[in-house]
Symmetry: C2
Subunit: 299 residues, 2 copies
């Protein structure tokens, strides 16, 4: 089944306790695609500047990631710089230059419009809404967002939330959007807003899926070394939707497995800078870690 | 199999967003016993003042909790007062009056000395060491502690840690004792200190068991209302050791189930003030929630 992702493509400069990297490819659309492409083909919509070195993403093309929706504009690619604290749970943003991403309001290529699975990465809700209006009749829409939009464009965001099937956010964002500290009450509140499913990303504490007034909970994989957490959330989303689209069935079992595959992919991406780890990964290692996830919680 | 618990017995005064209670019975030994007694008989060693109303714990006697090791000293019972913040993850201690608990250094009754399972609740490591020296040959010793002792009496504490089979602490305490932020490295470090097993309590994020260089992870049960988190950690320990002692076998399966029963019991105790919820609980509700725990993580 076809997956469409609309999101950012960036050059990231990152400092972690394990080192420093400058102008490495990143952004939600690339992390998502790098993970999802192990399970399913992906149609990317994004924008880069004329400075973007496409050879950096050629490995994705080999994995059936379609870049027909990649717009190259004159100007510079979106740049983000951040520094992680020792325990990796907190980071400071050092700079954000939107550059060509500032006026990103893409036309979805015609041959993308029948994509059944849509991931609206964390971008301006106005753009998310516009994208949704261009898609014929998606089977499943997954929406990501952040505090910046919850505070700044709540009305439009709520409109997009209403049209989405799955809302994916972290615990802080969930509390902010729902107005509830308590996860059960927060989950119930979101369901009232439209989506059937809520995925709560909790970083080192794993992820939760809320639906039908109950939870599925998956831990994060305990790693002795987290090199660079950048992109973990979008990689999670890629593993999740990649597996789900390949299963193409919203059964309880497939949903739960999708969450675990999300965690599996996120556990890999943080083991190196940028998406280097996803670049060198194979399906066998993914399946091996999936089994290790099972061992983590079975009793 | 006999369980021995040595810990505090207190009058707690607690304020949470759901209300205020004054001088309700509490303390590690009582919370532990209230949970463990659903699975196994328990021998309590503790001290109260002449003001302690033993009718408050008569329900425990009916459940085979033995109070022959309860010392009644002239003076007042240990008193603790605390106020929880809105999200229940943080609390302020309003007062701590050790009273008769200050000079607690108990003689273990002779007919307790063959207890096979020992829980050393969070008390002065000197007392913990002295207790261990009075016990003949326990099959399994579980040790709890806190930052106060990690900072103040590290040498003695490390001596007790060395003699213990299972160390149970929260993530902050683990980091402080091990010197590692990372849970995998922290777990490995603790194993070097003596214990075979480390249990990491993570509050709303559940609990982890580390052994043989791997983890078992169990979530906390999502509740829409947490009334009073006081005693959740000791209740967890009671469910854990109560089940494990009744199984009387350190197999992988029993260890994992013990952790889940710990979480089950903790999920009940926080649903009301003091241990009211444990007082009215029955085995059927416990087994029902155990099944619900399974549903939380199975995939």
């Amino acid at each position: 089944m076809k997956i469409l992702v609309v999101g950012s493509i960036a050059y990231d400069s990152v400092e972690t306790p394990y080192g420093k990297r400058e102008n490495e490819p990143g952004g939600s659309a690339l992390y998502f695609s790098a993970a999802a492409s192990f399970f399913n083909s992906v149609n990317v919509v994004g924008v880069v500047g004329s400075d973007f070195d496409t050879s950096k993403i050629s490995f994705l093309k080999k994995r059936h990631v379609n870049f027909d929706g990649l717009y190259v504009e004159s100007g510079e690619t979106f740049r983000w710089g951040g520094r992680y604290h020792t325990n990796m749970n907190k980071r400071d943003t050092l700079f954000t230059y939107l550059n060509v991403f500032e006026d990103f309001n893409p036309t979805i290529p015609d041959h993308y419009k029948d994509s059944q699975y849509v991931f609206l990465a964390n971008i301006d809700p106005d753009v998310q809404l516009d994208v949704l209006q261009q898609i014929s009749n998606p089977k499943l829409t997954v929406l990501d967002t952040m505090n910046f939009w919850i505070n700044g464009k709540k009305d439009v965001l709520l409109n997009v939330v209403k049209k989405s099937d799955i809302l994916i956010l972290n615990d802080e964002e969930l509390q902010e959007l729902s107005g509830h500290d308590n996860l059960v009450n927060a989950g119930r509140e979101i369901i009232q807003l439209g989506p059937k499913y809520v995925i709560i990303k909790k970083g080192e504490h794993g992820a939760m899926l809320y639906y039908n007034d109950r939870f599925f909970i998956s831990p994060a994989f305990p790693l002795d070394k987290v090199i660079d957490p950048t992109g973990a959330g979008d990689t999670f989303a890629g593993g999740f939707l990649g597996y789900l689209a390949s299963a193409n069935e919203m059964s309880d079992q497939h949903l739960r497995r999708s969450i675990v595959y999300g965690g599996v992919m996120a556990s890999f991406v943080v083991q190196d800078f940028s998406f280097k780890q996803l670049q060198n990964l194979d399906k066998q290692s993914i399946n091996q870690r999936y089994k290790e996830f099972k061992e983590l919680t079975i009793f």
